[in-house]
Symmetry: D2
Subunit: 98 residues, 4 copies
């Protein structure tokens, strides 16, 4: 069960090390994705939307064609929490088999 508690800088640094391509930008977990085309980008976004709705924890994101930028933070806590780390981890698994 992820914690809805603002993580310390050390905790965030440890978490980010385990996430491929994520870094901290402007106090948020940040990643830039590039897909083959819009079909690839928006299919990923739909899987991500389902995961987010299932967690009741939603991303800030922007898309142009095959590019997607995601920023994760927990507004109510004013920073990065265990929820953000969990959501980032789940996004990494989209498209993997079973």
């Amino acid at each position: 069960m992820p914690e809805r508690r603002k993580l310390s800088e050390a905790e965030i640094a440890t978490a980010v090390k385990k996430l491929k391509g994520w870094k901290v930008v402007g106090g948020k977990l940040h990643k830039e994705f590039k897909f083959a085309d819009f079909v690839g980008a928006f299919g990923f976004m739909t899987s991500a939307a389902l995961i987010a709705e299932g967690m009741n924890h939603h991303p800030e994101w922007s898309n142009v064609y095959n590019k997607l930028v995601i920023d994760l933070s927990t507004h109510s806590e004013g920073g990065i929490t265990g929820l953000d780390v969990e959501l980032a981890g789940k996004l990494e698994k989209i498209g993997s088999p079973g």
Copy 2:
């Protein structure tokens, strides 16, 4: 058939008058949408994605929870074209009957 030609300021002004809630910001057709919740926002985004793919003309857009910001322009022409006006018009009809 919409024109892939950069519209004049006068043409854009005329087109914008017919579009509800759209204005020109930074040389792009711009609108900010607000939905009941993420479910409403992302359902709309999916319909919009289908329309965009059908036109092979895609938006710049960003979303947080129930908010969605869309900017339309035609990169190859360096400005707003008939394609953008047509896409904006089609987005206005999402959710309407028949």
Copy 3:
């Protein structure tokens, strides 16, 4: 909180009366939807998918162009439960303001 308990025929009959266009077919809550086009149908399906994932309770559904058929039941209970009634009710609200 909806009950994950098989409802009696009387309970189902009462629930169905409050749902527009739903009936019991083959022991499942059943509705046939018709939209303006595929864009309308699949946008609705995406909102429905988000709701279903949020409840961790998923529909049986089939789609061709602008037509969508949804059947709801709870496999683990072998029939229609409060979860199905709740999901049907939430689907009725897709596209409504706030």
Copy 4:
């Protein structure tokens, strides 16, 4: 450019040989997919929906949780055409890099 012409049995047999997991069932191109979960299934469906809308050629499909069944045929021609073979081929590429 795919042909909107009913293919002969020999043409269909040749086409099916190149498509992984597709066969002819009831006069339609048919495939059954299984994903890790609903998130995987519906993300795929959204990419497929975008491809279909871009071709203006839509599938018959049904989904339950992680299972998806797709049937392709061209109603106006009363059988399997080059459009169906092309759509099946594009669905095979969803999720592949670039």
